[in-house]
């Protein structure tokens, strides 16, 4: 019985023991609570934005209020939910266990990362009550530096601090993966989730500082009038875009690689089959991480950069498409001759593949200069990145939640609730974002408060879909509460997983392993 056992949950008691904990598992849970609160807030803004767009003209708010909500929705979702999401929550919880370690390499640094996220979020969030920001999450200059209020400063300061949280987490994961693997666990025997987190960590450490510097330069320009981005002071407004995307393009892979890791685990476990092409999946993560540094200019095909630059960035972007395609083929090949069970985590993995395929294929359209000229900054792009990021990351997040829930809490997540949640999220997702591809075709620009009457029906469909998604996540959340109160005892390995976390009790003991495991084979040996 889990209750009598000595585990990490009852190891110490009281709120203070949580706030000062150095246990990676508890920190993972703290991240979960924090990030889910941000997600709720970002979701409310999303629903409001969609509600405003239900009819052309003013539906609920003025243009000013709309622009702010659109900005907060984007900034919260990107910087506070999807970027930290899977690595901070599930990475923290499962990474050390999956490699047979007692904790991460630097437990204090790990706790500090959590506090930095909280401090950054508090500073960013405080602008909601003082000086709302209306720049959009990309903070493009010179609008952000000369044309809008001073709220931009605390906003980007908060994002800057959140960035440090991300860097520290990445650093921690890199060292942990290199130094703390159990005996026998070579780099080619680590689970694919760990490979994904490891590749992500490299991106976090290398790319995030660029964002940090960019944001500092923006603050310097806004407060001291240093002419970096403002042409009236002799600066270059497009320089900001270069800096920004030099971070933010790799960042989109910070968002998606961990999700790919989750999907690799789910597909293997629920197909009860060795993952197909382990090395290809592992190395394609690294390849994506590497190449993603060289493609930032594909966000700027119409910024006035030279035609040659555009062509070069287009070419390199196409190269990212290949490892992405490889992963999809490998997951599907893993299901071939498998023994597949459609439990709710697997449904989310399948949902991921479905949505991610659409998102990835439309990415190829956008990478092709000739057609991106038409689609850039329209709803087509909005649809594309929601398909990959939300369809990808959030689907994987839900899958991960239900999959590791029994390990984390010792209780099973009710599968029926999981399935109902999936139906709402998956269908709602397509109803919301598919029409946006068509709106992009028709030429509706993004970040639009008001639109021509011809765009009305598709926008209404999209708004309707957003309610379905909202319902789906509420059901999913209800499932968490229900499982905590009424969930069945899970046992050590409810899904038949092969990675190390399934070899220890649920919930795990304080130091994960009573006896350090010794590995003799790869992670997915279903024979």
């Amino acid at each position: 019985m889990a209750h009598d056992q000595h585990n990490y949950l009852n190891h110490q008691k009281g709120i203070w023991s949580w706030l000062t904990t150095l246990d990676h598992k508890r920190i993972g849970i703290m991240y979960f609570i924090a990030i889910m609160s941000f997600f709720f807030l970002g979701g409310v803004f999303a629903l409001l934005v969609r509600a405003e767009l239900f009819t052309p003209g003013k539906t609920l708010f003025s243009a000013d209020v709309y622009n702010r909500m659109m900005t907060y929705h984007g900034a919260i979702m990107v910087f506070m939910v999807i970027v930290p999401g899977i690595p901070a929550i599930f990475g923290n919880f499962v990474l050390p266990i999956m490699i047979g370690a007692k904790d991460v390499a630097f437990p204090r640094l790990n706790l500090m990362s959590w506090y930095m996220l909280m401090i950054g979020a508090a500073i960013t969030g405080s602008t909601l009550f003082m000086q709302n920001v209306d720049t959009g999450w990309t903070f493009y200059t010179p609008y952000s530096s000369i044309k809008t209020g001073m709220g931009v400063i605390p906003m980007v300061l908060g994002v800057f601090i959140i960035g440090f949280s991300s860097i520290l987490t990445g650093l921690n994961f890199i060292v942990t993966t290199h130094k703390l693997r159990a005996p026998g666990m070579t780099m080619t025997r680590i689970p694919l989730m760990v490979w994904a987190l490891y590749s992500t960590a490299i991106l976090q450490v290398l790319a995030t500082p660029v964002l940090a510097i960019t944001l500092l330069l923006l603050i310097a320009e806004k407060t001291l009038g240093v002419g970096i981005f403002d042409p009236q002071l002799g600066g270059d407004p497009v320089l900001f875009q270069h800096f920004f995307w030099f971070y933010s393009h790799p960042a989109v892979y910070i968002m998606i690689l961990p999700a790919m890791g989750v999907v690799s685990e789910l597909v293997a476990t629920f197909s009860r089959k060795t993952i197909f092409g382990y090395t290809a999946i592992a190395y394609s993560s690294l390849a994506i991480a590497g190449v993603s540094f060289l493609v930032w200019g594909h966000h700027m095909f119409v910024s006035g950069q030279s035609e040659f630059a555009g062509v070069l960035f287009s070419f390199i972007t196409m190269l990212v498409g290949v490892p992405t395609a490889i992963k999809l083929f490998n997951w599907i090949a893993t299901m071939y001759k498998g023994s597949i069970r459609l439990d709710s985590p697997m449904l989310f993995a399948i949902g991921f593949m479905f949505l991610f395929t659409i998102g990835g294929l439309t990415g190829v359209y956008l990478a092709s200069t000739g057609i991106d000229i038409h689609f850039h900054d329209t709803y087509f792009v909005v649809a594309h990145f929601h398909y990959v990021m939300v369809g990808g990351t959030l689907m994987a997040l839900m899958g991960a939640l239900i999959y590791w829930f029994p390990k984390v809490t010792g209780k099973l997540y009710n599968d029926t609730i999981g399935r109902i949640s999936w139906v709402f999220i998956f269908s709602g997702f397509n109803v919301t974002f598919f029409p946006q591809f068509i709106l992009g075709n028709m030429g509706m620009p993004r970040r639009y408060y008001d639109y021509l009457p011809t765009f009305t029906e598709l926008n209404q469909m999209s708004t309707f879909g957003s309610w379905l998604i909202g319902t789906g996540f509420l059901v999913g959340f209800f499932g968490v509460i229900f499982a905590l109160l009424k969930g069945k005892e899970a046992g050590m390995n409810p899904f038949g997983g092969k990675t190390l976390e399934w070899t220890i009790p649920s919930p795990p003991p304080h130091e994960n392993f009573d006896k350090t495991p010794v590995l003799t084979g790869g992670p997915y040996e279903y024979r």
Binding site: T274, G338, Y365, A367
Partner: protein, 341 residues
């Protein structure tokens, strides 16, 4: 000459109205078809496996397959080849859209500013959008302004030379499948050859502040005779305007090329900045607590150094007109403001 034209793939796109846009559509159709095939292979395969290899008994075993070099080579190499085709084709179309260094038969300087476009022809004709408070009719609660019309001749190469007075904007005409950012301090070009007559909407696609979605214009493509006639009429109008009194000239500036009406109303309503109704000779309260009676000096200062005195309750959003406005134009505007009782 639509490749695959029997597939109404581009049926959601506006009619292709320029020589270049047909090529863009062909590329799009190729992408759509190849994308659809890839989707069917991937997702179709996935769905088949889900049903075929469903776990039926609890102890059902799976096959042990770790890799297959040939399959892996093929599914890396084939996508690579397809993507290179898409890349090269896209490059080709892109080069044609950009027309780097090509001079137009008609050249127009386009200046973007929050939240309007100004079109200046070589012969001095100027079209400003929007000219005043013309709201789009028939849409309840609409905030869209009725876009002003810019006329260009069909069949000629037209080059717009873009720049911006304040922030980034982007000049986008869906029917032309073309788009280019207007960047302050820089000149970019947007070149096209219209083949269809009609009215085509211009949008701003780079987020530029509160009224980003209102920043529209209409390009009217007509035949050469009509274009010549339009030019003659515009030049006549301009000559007429020159004879008008200072207040009329001021009004034209206010609603026209300076674009003041984008932010300031004349009827007391609040847009982005304060209304000018009853401004002259009345007290203004400022954000810093001070106040002053609006006179010539104050109005002039507000035009040239808008941040010097910011009216309480409004953001310091206006940018300086220094260098864009002449001394006697300021006088005309003041005369116009005096008439707004």
């Amino acid at each position: 000459m639509n490749w695959f034209s029997f597939i109404p793939a581009t049926s959601f796109m506006p009619v292709p109205a320029t020589k270049e846009s047909g090529d863009v559509d062909n590329l799009y159709i190729f992408l759509l078809v190849s994308g659809l095939i890839s989707f069917i292979i991937l997702i179709g395969g996935m769905v088949i496996f889900i049903f075929k290899y469903r776990r039926k008994t609890e102890d059902q075993k799976s096959a042990y397959i770790t890799h297959n070099t040939l399959a892996e080579f093929l599914w890396s190499f084939i996508p690579f080849v397809i993507m290179m085709v898409i890349f090269a084709w896209g490059w080709n179309v892109f080069h044609d859209l950009r027309k780097v260094g090509v001079k137009g038969d008609v050249e127009v300087h386009v200046t973007a500013r929050q939240w309007a476009w100004t079109f200046k022809y070589a012969n001095g004709i100027e079209v400003n959008s929007p000219t005043g408070d013309k709201l789009e009719p028939n849409i309840p609660e609409s905030t869209l302004l009725k876009p002003e019309i810019v006329v260009v001749p069909v069949g000629k190469t037209i080059r717009f030379i873009l720049t911006s007075d304040d922030v980034l904007h982007s000049f986008y005409v869906p029917a032309f499948r073309n788009k280019m950012d207007a960047v302050p301090g820089r000149r970019t070009t947007f070149t096209f050859t219209p083949i269809e007559k009609g009215d085509f909407t211009v949008f701003c696609t780079e987020y530029c502040g509160t009224k980003h979605s209102n920043m529209m214009a209409t390009i009217r493509v007509v035949d050469s005779e009509q274009f010549t006639a339009w030019q003659a009429a515009e030049i006549g109008k301009k000559a007429g305007a020159a004879d008008a009194g200072p207040a009329q000239r001021g009004e034209a500036l206010f609603k026209g090329s300076l674009g003041c009406s984008g932010c300031h109303s004349l009827d007391g309503s609040r847009i982005v900045g304060p209304s000018f109704k009853g401004l002259y000779g009345n007290k203004r309260d400022f954000a810093d607590g001070s106040s002053v009676v609006a006179d010539d000096a104050y109005i002039k200062q507000s035009i040239l150094v808008p941040t010097a005195k910011v009216v309480a309750g409004f953001p310091p959003a206006m940018s300086s007109f220094q260098g864009r406005i002449k001394e006697d134009e300021i006088k005309d505007i003041i005369e116009f403001i005096k008439t707004l009782k």
